[in-house]
Amino acid sequence: MSQPEEPVEGECVVLVEAMSAYLDGSLPADERRLMDTHLGGCTGCRDFLGQLSAVPVAVAAARVQELPADVRATLLRAFTGT
């Protein structure tokens, strides 16, 4: 997204493509400001961003998985050559 001649209101269809970058803080400052302004006046994009931001949180919640103790022991034996 680098179209400086676009009006501040922006076009939702284009801005949704930059939402992850906005969420992750990787947009350049001027584009972030454009996005801030747009979001202030557009419930569609605000709600889209809200829904999008729910995804990484839900994904992070899936963290479980531990390595079984016997596997760990096997690896240690492999390392020590015993």
Partner: protein, 224 residues
């Protein structure tokens, strides 16, 4: 070492050197610590490619055995972590597909990215030539992201997200897991998969957006 890399040696790299020396000297505690630090994450990543936990565990074991064998040959061009996980994703991929061809990730990424995939169907926006508000939402999301239906505490939502993630194309899935589950930096993802920052960013956004679309369909009854 890459001569164009400037800056002081990053802290991680110094710790790597000490750890590497300890491992090469046969320091069991150093190895156990390394396994403990990464094993759970390796298992989760392996399961991106092989939903069977047993096969994923095999891939993790195989990876560590390769690491042990290759310690002396490791040249330190990447961090230990990047190196280990690079081996892991290749082991996991090798076990996850019927044919054991290995296509470089960069090629995989390119072919996935070659397909134009808007994160929201264009039909949900007003056409570019509309007289009034071209390009704006015509069918906006029906619910706010913080509405109870989108609550992440719900087991139903978590299950939906997991199922949606399982349906993702492979490169989107691995980038999503690395960034949003394992919380790697973009640079770590790019170094392990050998893809560009730009590709990594697009893959992540598409992955999240597909899951959002699936959730919207299930929770809010909105067709894609």
């Amino acid at each position: 070492m890459n001569a164009t890399r400037v800056d002081a040696v990053p802290v991680g790299r110094t710790q790597d050197d000490e750890l590497l020396a300890a491992l090469r000297a046969g320091d069991e505690q150093a190895f156990a610590g390394l396994v403990d630090r990464h094993a759970a994450s390796m298992l989760r990543l392996a399961m991106v490619y092989t939903p069977s936990r047993a096969v994923a565990e095999e891939a993790v074991q195989e990876t560590w055995l390769i690491v042990i064998r290759s310690l002396d040959a490791f040249e330190g061009r990447s961090t230990l972590k990047t190196w280990i996980f690079g081996i892991l994703v290749n082991c996991a991929r090798g076990r996850g597909v019927r044919e054991r061809r290995t296509v470089p990730f960069a090629s995989f990424a390119k072919s996935e990215l070659a397909i134009d995939e808007p994160v929201v169907s264009r039909s949900r926006f007003r056409p570019d030539d509309a007289a009034f508000e071209p390009g704006h939402w015509a069918s906006p999301p029906r619910r706010r992201g913080d509405s109870p239906e989108w609550s992440l505490a719900s087991a139903e939502t978590s299950a939906l997200v997991r199922r949606a993630a399982d349906r993702l194309p492979p490169m989107q899935r691995v980038v999503l897991v690395m960034r949003d589950l394992e919380e790697w930096t973009p640079d770590e993802v790019c170094a392990t998969l050998e893809i560009s920052l730009g590709h990594q960013a697009v893959l992540l956004h598409r992955a999240r957006a597909r899951i959002r679309t699936d959730l919207e369909r299930e929770l809010d009854d909105v067709p894609a």
